[in-house]
């Protein structure tokens, strides 16, 4: 649908132009994206790339990886990683291509940068298979080679998600590729949003993938600078090194203040009651005395 592959008569350049113009007009033609996080640390570059920019390498690049292809004046070479997918128990078939630059660092290590991703559109057969796994609440599985330079490396790294987690308006997918040099340790595949449980059967309105990709490499453990041992020494033997925080006046002395307040109140009521109604004052003070849990010991009978 999206590509002009079906027009063999037209020359390459012409086809390219046609594709470009088509894309400019019908932006929904095919959905292939790039990572959206412009995080240089993760080896990502740029945000979501307009479709036309993607389509060019699509045409140019054959499906097979071309590792020796030196495409920049520096010693970075471009590599392609084929993404394959499977529906439920089906076999794996190609589903897209990651393109990246392999950058050699000073100390011999190699890292991937400028990762781009082009997703193939679903064929009718694949669409049917996808509908089937949606109905069955089955798994949608993807795999990548575990080595970028000589795929598939030792083995493929696999990741799966319940198919029902993917559909929104389109099919939202999120790749987290964990790298170790030129090796892919694992890929985590899933939806960009929460996957509710129980999973409800819903079909996407558009059968296109809306992809996000993050390339992750390991981080180094940080250690806080060494602290003086005095801190430790200051701790008590029981290990209760928490110094009591500065308390407010009220927090410190409430247990004294409340009885004091009660005594004062008691005294005031007595002082008020005494001159007017000695008898009533007596009973009042008596009940109060019992109620106040004998705290105001000063409220002895002085009447």
């Amino acid at each position: 649908m999206r590509r002009s592959r079906g027009s063999p008569a037209v020359g390459r350049r012409l086809a390219l132009l046609v594709v470009l113009s088509l894309h400019l007009m019908l932006s929904s033609a095919f959905q292939s994206d790039e990572l959206i996080q412009d995080d240089e640390e993760f080896g990502l570059e740029g945000g979501r790339i307009p479709d036309r920019e993607i389509s060019t390498p699509v045409r140019a690049a054959p499906r097979v990886k071309t590792s020796g292809d030196v495409s920049s004046p520096t010693d970075a070479k471009s590599v392609q990683i084929t993404l394959e997918h499977a529906f439920g128990d089906s076999d794996f078939s190609p589903a897209g291509i990651f393109t990246a630059r392999l950058k050699s660092s000073n100390h011999g290590g190699q890292t991937l940068t400028k990762l781009r991703f082009r997703r193939d559109a679903l064929t009718d057969l694949e669409k049917k298979a996808f509908e089937r796994i949606l109905r069955n609440d089955d798994f949608y599985t993807i795999r990548l080679p575990s080595n970028v330079l000589n795929p598939p490396g030792r083995e493929y790294v696999i990741s799966s998600v319940r198919a029902r987690c993917l559909p929104r308006e389109s099919l939202d997918e999120h790749f987290v590729i964990n790298m170790e040099g030129v090796n892919i340790l694992s890929v985590t595949y899933g939806s960009t949003r929460m996957c509710q449980y129980p999973r409800l059967l819903e079909y996407p309105t558009k059968w296109v993938f809306n992809s996000r990709t993050v390339l992750k490499s390991g981080e180094l453990a940080q250690r806080r600078p060494t602290f003086a041992e005095e801190v430790l020494a200051a701790e008590s033997a029981e290990g209760e090194g928490v110094k009591p925080p500065e308390k407010s006046f009220w927090a410190k002395y409430w247990m004294y203040l409340i009885p004091l307040g009660l005594i004062v109140m008691n005294a005031i009521t007595q002082a008020m009651n005494l001159p007017e109604e000695p008898a009533a004052g007596q009973t009042a003070s008596q009940t109060q005395q019992q109620g106040a849990q004998r705290a105001p010991s000063a409220a002895t009978r002085r009447r």
Binding site: I158, S159, C165, C195, L220, F227, G239, G241
Partner: protein, 978 residues
């Protein structure tokens, strides 16, 4: 209020009791605030000396492989043994108690032991370490490390003429060298290296004082060396080759005659060294035993003038006449074990032979053995002179379950349950509920009950005299409560069901450690053609608490029928109360992994999934009901496998029933869902751990199945120091085991294993070595789910406006925040565990098995990633401790006190019914059981709390209220009249 009575630093128990009391008193203090005179009684320091009443500590030695009897005429009879747990011990022959014991290192297995001079024990271990111990007290006299390049069979020889005080030599053959070691200080006097890989079989001293070494130097050559004992010069060297080759097992009939087998094991070769020549005499085994066509083996036992040949089901004792003629003395069918021979005074020799049915020896003794001990594996014989001057014999018998018996006069004098030194798995079981209890039943009469309480009150009030104190102490010791076979209120009493390496299941009572029942698994499967029954694990199978209360709980014992992991499995279901086997069967598939499911059927049998080596899942119990329960859960069940050799971790889900097996409803296919492949050139899996499946969590954790995996650089996979800090690194992964998502991945540069980790709730703590700092380090990683962050408001929780109970799919992958922090730690660690309590509310303690075989309790608060050098007041209020560089080791927090759990291998924790308390079972060669309260026992009084005193106090208070009330009424009336 002043609390006095500090206890010593290392004796932790008194202080703990004291603290517990304090805690209870603190609570009461608030209630009895106004009645200070009565409370002051409580502050008086304790009068009695306390000792660990609630701890269980048992010492074992393991399966005996060498035993030497001490042949001293007078004094205490003892036997020195070396075991497969690398223990050297001296046992009392009369009672079987330990005089002394030494646990050598894990890789320091004992090759040979001997007694020299009647008071020294000499041991050779690891093929090259020679040690001498003082026999009476077990002190080491000296230790000598012999420099050997290659490890090979090693043996030593102590000349019989060795005398006290003189500098005699001990000759050690190790690693193709012969060493002469001084018997005084263990110094190597001389060392003779032999060309070509000579494996010395026998060392002995000629009457002239020279040393003769006989050995095989290649598969078909025999070498004899005669060396000078003074300087090790080779005096004579002879060699001869035998075209058929040797099987390299030899039995010496006499000093110059020995027998061996050819390489095919069909021909018996008699080697005669007499007269300076080496002569071979061959005899076909089929000639000795008519019609026998199998192979033979020579038993390693030492006899004089004889040797023992083992054929398939037969042991032949053969005598060698005049250096070449063989004579069959005895054919013994189906013997179990045979001992070395003993010389008796009048030139006779004796040996012990144990058979299980009948024996026709001259001295025949039959003993009745407990059927749960299995068959006899080894016998060591010792003689003594009876009162009527005839010879008496006693035998030390090692049984199949690794227990040790001393048999004398047809009776078992003592037995030791030494299989408990090799526990491989443990679980617990509740005791039966007590039915129809009344006070009168528990105590003998109400009068005694009152008397007992009065005594206690007296003791507390310091009114008791010495007699009373003794009575109180006696009451406490007998503490009938502790050893009762019924459930207690607090859930402290339990049955520990353990599985030993010998394949025996034992139930121990936690009160006094007695064995309630035991069950040897191998006899159950003798009919299943199960040669090697390898025990694997033990699980709780049925824990009745809601329904099916009248049924006994039971445990599931998984074992394997064969040495390899693909051998078929065996499952047995055993009653926890009686040890009765409910069912036991050999499975048609192997056992790779066992998963207890969080599902139980109507009789409270837990559903288990067993994964076989074809990655197929099998459901147990095999009942239609369990299938009906499991089917709805099938799509939501996942499992993973860590393939350390391949460097991969894979996650699986379940599919429908197995396709290839016919009509098995209980078999399920699995499908690979995710995989993590570690590059083999840069990372190597060294450890993986996850949460305990039955952990009770109070906090809600989004990542339910957090898997911790650690990998190291392949170069740093060896011991500490095998790699430089530059080439060593440690990568730690936290993985969601359902989706395979890597939650956290962090690299510690310059760090090396061994790695010990514990995962609980939302955190993981791991221990490793920092090569740069030359210190051990412990790191903590905490994972917090962002989507649940907004539930902090208590009002939301109260009004139910939270999303804590809504189901969450593991596939939603919410943002998580990960915090981590590293601390230095002084100790090397053998094992780690975490306390577990009934509801998971009590704060946690890490239980660290230190290199000194002790268990250290470390508050999780110290391993909080939020610790900062200067916490804010609100953080302090939460209990955050200011950041320190290293973790403190508080001497009082050793839960093992001053005891050592030798050879510590594992720590198991289980909750008590009381929320504050967790039960801890540490096992290795020794066993230790105690209970810990990470936040002190805030929810209970001490066991010896005097309820009578409390009652009296309340009565006095009530009475005083009435008295004062009456008095005040009276006074008021008087005032009114005034």
């Amino acid at each position: 209020m002043i609390y006095t009575g500090k206890s010593t630093v290392y004796n932790k128990h008194p202080s703990r009791f004291w603290c517990r009391d304090l805690e209870a008193f603190r609570k009461f203090r608030t209630k009895l605030h106004f009645f200070s005179t009565s409370v002051s009684v409580f502050h008086l320091p304790r009068m009695f000396s306390w000792f660990p009443l609630d701890d269980l500590y048992q010492q074992y030695i393991g399966k005996v492989k060498h035993a030497i009897f001490h042949a001293q005429k007078a004094g205490r009879r003892r036997v020195v043994v070396a075991t497969e747990e690398n223990v050297i011990a001296s046992l009392d022959l009369r009672r079987g108690e330990l005089f002394w014991r030494h646990v050598l290192g894990e890789n320091d297995s004992v090759d040979q032991i001997d007694i020299a001079l009647g008071k020294y024990v000499i041991t050779l271990s690891s093929g090259s370490i020679l040690r001498t111990w003082n026999l009476p007290d077990g002190q080491m006299v000296w230790e000598s490390f012999l420099q050997v390049s290659a490890s090979s069979m090693s043996l030593f020889f102590v000349p019989a003429s060795i005398e006290v005080g003189t500098d005699q030599q001990i000759f050690v053959s190790a690693g193709g060298c012969l060493h002469a070691v001084s018997s005084i200080d263990g110094e190597v006097i001389w060392k003779r290296e032999f060309t070509d890989s000579l494996e010395i079989q026998k060392l002995f001293q000629t009457p002239y004082g020279d040393i003769t070494a006989i050995g095989f130097s290649s598969s078909s050559q025999i070498d004899i060396y005669q060396l000078s004992a003074k300087n090790g010069d080779i005096l004579v060297h002879k060699s001869a080759s035998f075209p058929g080759g040797f099987s390299r097992e030899a039995s010496f009939v006499s000093g110059d005659v020995f027998v061996t087998l050819d390489a095919t094991r069909y021909i018996l070769v008699l080697v005669n060294l007499n007269g300076g020549e080496i002569r071979f005499h061959q005899t076909h085994i089929s000639d000795l035993a008519e019609g026998y066509s199998g192979t033979a083996a020579i038993l390693p036992q030492k006899f004089t003038g004889m040797f023992a040949l083992e054929l398939d089901s037969l042991i032949m004792l053969m005598k060698v006449e005049s250096g070449r003629d063989l004579e069959i003395i005895e054919k013994i069918p189906h013997p179990a074990s045979i001992s070395d021979s003993l010389f008796l005074a009048n030139g006779q020799q004796a040996f012990a032979m144990v058979k299980h049915e009948e024996t026709n020896n001259i001295l025949k003794e039959s003993i009745n053995l407990d059927s749960q001990r299995g068959s006899v594996q080894k016998v060591f014989l010792n003689n003594y002179v009876k009162t009527d001057k005839s010879h008496g014999f006693r035998a030390l018998v090692v049984m199949e379950d690794h227990s040790l018996l001393l048999v004398q006069q047809g009776e078992i004098v003592w037995s030791r349950e030494d299989g408990l030194a090799s526990i491989i798995a443990s679980t617990t079981s509740e005791l039966p509920v007590e039915k129809g209890v009344s006070v009168a039943k528990v105590e003998h009469s109400i009068f005694e009950w009152i008397k007992g309480h009065l005594l206690k009150v007296k003791g507390t009030l310091m009114l008791a005299n010495a007699e009373d104190l003794a009575a109180i102490q006696r009451m406490r010791l007998k503490s009938f409560e502790k050893t009762k076979m019924t459930r207690d209120h607090n859930g402290f009493r339990k049955l520990l069901v353990v599985l030993t390496r010998a394949g025996k299941v034992l139930a121990l009572h936690t009160g006094d450690g007695r064995i309630v029942w035991s069950l040897l698994l191998s006899p159950l499967h003798s009919s299943d053609s199960c040669q090697h029954l390898i025990p694997v694990d033990i699980y709780q199978w049925q824990v009745p608490h809601h329904h099916a209360m009248d049924e006994n709980p039971s445990v599931l014992v998984i074992s394997r029928c064969g040495l390899h992991s693909d051998a078929p499995g065996v499952i047995s279901i055993v009653d926890s109360y009686s040890g009765k086997v409910f069912s036991s069967s050999k499975l048609s598939h192997s056992v790779l992994q066992v998963m207890p499911l969080p599902l139980t059927d109507s009789t409270e049998q837990r559903l288990h999934i067993i994964i076989d080596d074809n990655k197929k899942a099998h459901l147990y119990p095999r009942t239609p009901e369990s299938i009906n329960i499991f089917r709805p859960e099938l799509p939501n069940t996942y499992w993973y496998s860590v393939e350390a050799v391949k460097g991969a971790i894979k996650g699986y889900s379940f599919r429908g029933n197995c396709i290839d097996t016919d009509e098995d409803d209980y078999c399920f296919d699995t499908r690979e869902l995710w995989s993590i492949i570690f590059p083999s050139d840069s990372e190597k899996i060294t450890g993986a751990t996850t949460r305990k499946y039955n952990e009770v969590r109070f906090i809600i954790v989004h990542i339910q199945n957090m898997l911790f995996v650690a990998t190291v650089s392949p170069r740093a996979a060896g011991n500490i120091g095998s790699a430089t800090p530059e080439e060593a690194y440690l990568v730690v992964y936290l993985i969601d085991a359902v989706t395979g998502r890597i939650i956290h991945r962090v690299t510690h540069l310059g760090a090396q294993g061994p790695i010990h980790a514990v995962v609980s709730e939302n955190w993981v703590v791991y221990h490793y070595f920092n090569l740069r700092a030359h210190k051990y380090e412990m790191s903590v990683v905490e994972v917090n789910d962002q989507s649940r962050q907004d539930n902090k408001s208590i009002w939301k929780l109260l009004l139910g406006k939270h999303n804590l109970t809504s189901p969450v799919s593991a596939f939603s992958q919410p943002e998580v925040t990960v915090k981590s922090q590293s601390y230095f730690f002084t100790h090397s660690v053998k094992t780690m565990a975490v306390t577990s309590t009934a509801k998971g509310i009590t704060s946690k303690q890490l239980l660290i098995g230190t290199i000194g075989d002790q268990v250290l309790a470390l508050d999780k608060r110290y391993l909080d990633p939020r610790r900062t050098p200067d916490p804010s007041p609100s953080e302090r209020e939460e209990g955050i401790i200011p950041l320190t560089d290293s973790l403190p080791i508080i001497p009082q927090s050793y839960v093992t006190h001053s005891l050592q759990v030798e050879g510590l291998r594992g720590i198991a924790t289980m909750p008590a019914k009381l929320e504050s308390t967790s039960l801890v079972f540490a096992y290795g060669v020794d066993l230790f059981f105690t209970r810990v309260a990470p936040s002190r026992t805030y929810d209970s009084l001490t066991e010896d709390f005097s309820y009578a005193l409390l009652l009296i106090t309340i009565v006095v208070l009530v009475a005083s209220i009435f008295v004062t009330w009456a008095l005040s009424e009276k006074k008021e009336l008087e005032e009114k009249w005034r």
